[in-house]
Symmetry: C2
Subunit: 377 residues, 2 copies
């Protein structure tokens, strides 16, 4: 533990052994299911993490911003899917990436949005590769697999000289599941919806080579992926307490945590105050409506052992309040004296990681490295 | 509006005219009340904003991290209060700042924490200036004004050669007020508690030159500040929807917003989807328990006119969902076509600003500048 004591807190720790196990688990599943795997790098926004995913066998990456595309393209990664409907004002940036040699794919999910892409592509003589987003779970975005607008969008794009590369979907509703049966059903719904959309496009004369599906829960629950060519998932690389509640990981598999130090107490309230506030943890309350509420994070010892019942119960910008669920711990000042280091498991790894300019990557041999991460748009 | 259309979204906008009015309003109040003003720079973490506060008459700054102290000291600001109880592991950084000429003040609120400061200061021959944090609202941290440990802490520090610079308090409970009477009562409670603590220290033989109080609501509500030497406040520089609900600003005074673009719709649900998700807005739900819930933000036109009833009702990482409160707007795709720019007023300016690497500062003449901001620890 001597090494951790030298770290300034709060800081974001990656347990590299756990991360590698998470990467291997997912890649092996994908290999067994016979599909390519395209990790979503919005979770880490860090080259060493992404490189570990590619080294394990991933094919290309998924990004949530063009900033991610720019950064990873600069690092030599060319096969990139931008999995958010592109704003018309960002088309010139997508064009520039493609002209520089980036094999950037963009998505669309409506006639109105497709018209912007088609008009811009035609004006600039660029055959954008466009994947059509399918709504398989009535969750957020996409065209319903059976909707007439699906064919209309494909025709519109093709007539303007764009490449209809395939279909993609994201069953975000899987985050609301918490049984194996529900997860498997959601994975099958996601698969079947995407494959159905692709079949309709093929019947209408489009090649539609790619059928891309995925979310961490469905990727880990799917029993078969017939007709799917690739899967995307992001948060599995670190996991978090939301995923624990969904049922796809244990707390021992969560590879991201925040190292913090006790800076005060309110003994009569049973509080220890730590230097990880919402700035270090994020304000994500993703477990609030799940079967177990971890408030703003699960408290562990500095070495990572879960301290059952101790949560970050509330937070201000640079103050986190640790308390025991149920009966107040009036011995908390003796239990966690000032200067005590603790680790906090995150509610939502994407949100917690986003608050940190860098990770401290801890190797199994006790060594550590600083891994930079970026933010912004 | 032509200029805004050239901006890449999402981005954080500062309305400089509003910001200057907010700065002037606060500084004039402080001048009238006869106290110094020490703005909390954790809200903006940006030199041009802080410089505007100093130019208007502020005396020194308050910081929430030593990173802020390092950055602003590098910019030439020396009078700095670090207003979070210092972690023992950070004392060497505080020492380094002081040795380099930074007039850094630190705080403590317990015998246990004071012992760490005293031991470290004595070992290193450094007379740290320490302010004792007072708990005037039973909210988070501090020693109660009448507690015996107040004198004990001061004695312990003085015997070790530290400088007992004064007392400070922050009535964070003022965020829970929403009437003028409650705000004035909380301001008086904050003032009276801090002054009482200072009087007890003086009666015990300590000079206690500084009596520092403050929060945006109490600073704007206080009717008198007898015995107080300085006030601190942070979020007033931008204001936000939490402060609107507290009753200390109108929406027309909110100087920070996020510019976003419509990227899709779910017409039957009455949704417009924009490119400002929680990554751009934060997950702060600070108005949830207030008298009016603004969900994740209030939607305005691109030029800033409030669109009554339209909120960012939910969000994923890079998707925000805009909908109308009450009756669903099934014409939303016509009302806000793809490519439409909108501005979102933030729930909590400190949290929203923290998501952005820079601000676009819009002058009253339509000009704009990029103002950098930093993050991390």
């Amino acid at each position: 533990m001597n090494h951790l004591e030298e770290l300034n807190t709060p800081c974001a720790l990656i347990d590299v052994e756990r991360m590698q196990a998470n990467i291997l688990r997912m890649q092996q599943r994908m290999n067994q299911l016979g599909v390519r795997f395209r990790p979503h790098v919005k979770t880490s926004k860090s080259l060493p993490v992404t490189q570990a995913q590619l080294d394990a066998g991933a094919s290309g990456i998924t990004v949530s911003t063009l900033k991610e595309a720019e950064q990873f393209f600069a690092d030599g990664i060319t096969d990139i899917l931008y999995a958010v409907s592109i704003s018309p004002g960002r088309l010139s940036q997508a064009l520039s990436l493609r002209r520089r040699g980036c094999d950037l794919k963009i998505i669309t999910d409506s006639v109105a949005a497709a018209k912007h892409v088609a008009a811009f592509g035609r004006t600039n003589g660029e055959a954008f590769e466009v994947w059509i987003e399918i709504d398989t779970d009535d969750h957020r975005s996409g065209i319903k697999p059976g909707a007439s607008s699906l064919i209309e969008v494909a025709q519109l794009l093709q007539e303007a000289g764009m490449v209809v590369g395939g279909v993609m979907t994201h069953a975000g509703a899987s985050y609301g599941c918490d049984t194996q049966a529900a997860l498997e059903a959601m994975a099958e719904q996601e698969r079947a919806g995407a494959v159905h959309a692709a079949q309709r496009l093929r019947e209408a004369g489009f090649k539609c080579p790619v059928v891309s599906v995925g979310s961490t829960p469905t990727a880990l629950a799917a029993r078969r992926l017939d007709g799917v060519t690739e899967v995307r998932a992001g948060v599995y690389v670190f996991f978090d307490l939301v995923m624990h509640n969904v049922g796809v990981c244990s707390t021992d598999e969560i590879a991201l945590s925040v190292l913090t130090t006790v800076i005060g107490h309110q003994e009569e309230k049973g509080w220890a105050i730590v230097d990880a506030g919402w700035m270090a943890m994020s304000r994500d309350r993703g477990t609030q409506d799940q079967k177990r509420d971890f408030a703003l994070g699960q408290v562990c010892t500095a070495s990572g052992q879960v301290l059952e019942g101790y949560l970050v119960s509330s937070a201000n910008q640079e103050h986190g309040i640790i308390s025991r669920v149920g009966e107040s711990d009036t011995d908390i000042a003796q239990r966690f004296p000032i200067g005590t280091q603790l680790r906090i498991l995150p509610i939502h790894a994407c949100a917690t990681a986003a608050q940190h300019p860098e990770y401290v990557a801890l190797g199994p041999d006790g060594s550590s490295q600083t891994w930079p991460r970026f933010y912004g748009w």
